[in-house]
């Protein structure tokens, strides 16, 4: 019973957190707390098989499925606070409190008497005793469960299946398309220039510098450009001069703020890629 009085408040707090947290991932983690505590309570209630099943099936499989779907749907898919039915939230809370009071007072007043305990029923071992019942009295329910599980698996496959509406684009088709674009529009055939080739930095947000000192926009990922986090390469070159001044080493003294494309070790032979 010590375990119960430690775990019960934790479970109630975690379950209440489920009502109030904004992010669905936090709700999933709180639910994991509740489920693992429940598993321990099953152990207290002399159900070691259900303890294992609770951890394996609920926290292991079902909650992981929840987390997978959360990752697919988007972690930041949080609740909207707009009520579609006016006053629904207030009514739900009032009704919930009423139900809670009813259940707790009702169940609290029942005198169940001393529990019989499962020592006798668990005499051959909990798993063996459960198997005896499951494969004799409940065998039809057990078989129906297998049909249910197969139906669920097939149903999930059907629901998750997407018809391919367009023919698959393979490597050969992509290559042919590239060459066609080269023939038609003179589009560059090779790969895009990597970022930071002519700049001092090779970070992905630093554009490569073309031989004339301008930044090659195609060298930076479009995502970064859309976010507006692309760094200015000539500004980087200014940084370099500043640092050179600070450390008192100025091989390029008297030079303008031209990019340091002339430094030999940073001028690879990929210049021909740019027109």
């Amino acid at each position: 019973m010590v375990a119960f009085w430690i775990l019960a408040p934790i479970m109630v707090i975690a379950a209440l957190g489920l009502l109030f947290v904004r992010k669905a991932v936090h709700a999933a983690l709180l639910l994991a707390v509740v489920m693992i505590s429940l598993a321990v309570l099953y152990l207290v209630l002399e159900a070691p098989f259900l303890f294992a099943v609770q951890i394996i099936v609920y926290t292991g499989a079902i909650l992981m499925l929840f987390l997978f779907v959360l990752m697919l749907v988007g972690v930041d898919a949080s609740d909207s606070v707009v009520e579609t039915i006016r006053g629904q939230r207030a009514f739900a809370i009032v009704g919930g409190v009423a139900l809670g009071v009813l259940l707790v007072t009702g169940l609290g007043q029942v005198s169940l008497g001393t529990a019989v305990g499962l020592d006798e029923a668990n005499a051959p071992g909990n798993v063996q005793a459960l198997a005896n019942i499951l494969f004799s009295r409940y065998v039809f329910a057990f078989e129906a469960t297998s049909a249910l599980l197969i139906t669920a698996a097939v149903g999930a496959m059907v629901l998750a299946h997407r018809e391919r509406l367009t023919p698959r684009v393979g490597q050969a088709e992509r290559a042919a398309q590239r060459l066609q674009e080269y023939a038609d529009k003179g589009a560059h055939l090779g790969p895009l220039p990597p970022p930071g080739v002519y700049a001092r930095h090779n970070a992905v947000d630093t554009p490569a510098l073309l031989p004339d000192g301008t930044a090659a926009e195609s060298s930076v990922s479009r995502v970064l450009a859309a976010r507006g986090t692309v760094r200015s390469a000539p500004a980087m070159a200014d940084d370099i001069e500043e640092i050179e001044n600070q450390i008192g080493w100025a091989p390029h003294a008297g030079r303008d703020a031209a990019p340091p494309a002339s430094t030999t070790e940073e001028a690879p032979a990929t210049g021909g890629e740019h027109e």
């Binding site: 019960a8 609920y58 629904q88 809370i93 259940l103 609290g108």
Partner: protein
Amino acid sequence: MSDVTPFVVLSGILFTIGCVGVLTRRNAIVVFMCVELMLNASNLALVAFAKQHGNLDGQIAAFFVMVVAAAEVVIGLAIIMTIFRTRRSASVDDASLLKY
């Protein structure tokens, strides 16, 4: 002390919390988690009563509830995924096409 009343009361509290969660939350996945919480609460009551009465039928029932819950979660999450794919939203308020 071999009284299972505290377990049953805890189960009632958890069931109530799950019930309120289903009614108040708007994210379909969180609503689903609250349904799971209610199923777990009923499982706790079943296991507690199995101990109270000294036979294992309650534990078998809890076991079946777990199996059915697993199947239900698979289908439910697949439905939520399908709705999300077409509507770009996991909110239960957005799936209201039958209303109009």
